[in-house]
Point group: C2
Chain length 188, copies 2
């Protein structure tokens, strides 16, 4: 059996994640069957599940990758910038449709819910950090409320984009959101 380097393993893992993302986006969580995941990745189920225990773990790995990437943007530019990028890059919204589709699973499958939240912690913490240390933020509203508010707007944005609403209309909404969380007198 050939020895495979860590680098090569990691490369294969990333390849599977990228192809599986498109498959989940296209068919939904339930609709992305193992056969379709094989077709999308060009790999056998044996090869796929060598890297990920099961479909749930593969799905959560994609969600984790997203959360980590968004956390980086948040740390540098804030959550509203994450939303602006969502609006400006509608191609990425194909994947976000799965956010709506897993709502029932989040409610009814506590094990899935726990695993999902674990991956979201990195994003939640990045949002909290950013709000706590951004001098441009208003300080008359508790950080937890600002955070709840911004994440509610982001969920709404995702639901609208995933429903096929034209993204152009959402840019001005984000200007209003930005204004509503800023300290008075602080420019953009």
């Amino acid at each position: 059996m050939p020895i495979v380097s860590d680098n090569e393993l990691s490369r294969r893992r990333r390849e599977i994640i990228a192809a599986a993302r498109g498959c989940f986006a296209r068919y939904g969580y339930e609709g992305a069957t193992v056969t379709r995941l094989e077709e999308a990745t060009g790999k056998t189920r044996g090869a796929i599940f060598h890297h990920f225990k099961d479909k749930e773990e593969l799905f959560l790995a994609i969600a984790a990758e997203d959360a980590a990437r968004q956390a980086e943007v948040v740390a540098e530019h804030g959550l509203i910038e994450v939303m602006r990028r969502l609006v400006r890059n509608p191609g990425s919204n194909d994947w976000y449709i799965t956010r709506a589709e897993i709502v029932r699973k989040l409610r009814t499958d506590p094990c899935f819910e726990t695993r999902w939240r674990v991956h979201q912690v990195v994003l939640d913490e990045a949002i909290h950090e950013r709000l706590a240390h951004n001098a441009a933020m208003r300080d008359d509203v508790p950080i937890d409320v600002l955070q709840e508010y911004l994440t509610t707007v982001m969920e709404g944005l995702i639901l609208k984009l995933a429903s096929g609403e034209p993204p152009q209309r959402l840019e001005a909404t984000l200007d209003l959101v930005e204004q509503s969380v800023r300290a008075p007198g602080v420019g953009k």
Copy 2:
């Protein structure tokens, strides 16, 4: 064949709608099979589809009833009051999980999308009217933007509630939303 009065027909229709709502909430749009709709309503498929052409029409009738009821609240108290009632009455959120579940259908089934939007017009118009005639609203942002903003928040709220998030945390968010759309110096 006995003659059935219009009143009686309308009563039976409302009965089916009420029972079917619970069935859709519990099993989702796809999961609410005809057999389950029969069980939930205590009526045969013949009786159900005497009133509604098919499952889609039944589902849209429930959505239309909701939109009409929300439009009434909007006309009197505004959309934020609709959101406050959602947050305070988590029982109703069982149904709203279907909002997330039909996202893919809205994107991929233009006929369904058209029929869905028709029923939402009454709500959209009520929101627009209210924003246009409420003197407490800020006037430095176009009404369309305020409307897009408020409906985005509402979609986010629905997604969060449907995912099982505790509603208590969302009340303070709504205070912030309310403040952000009001004219400066106008009290609550």
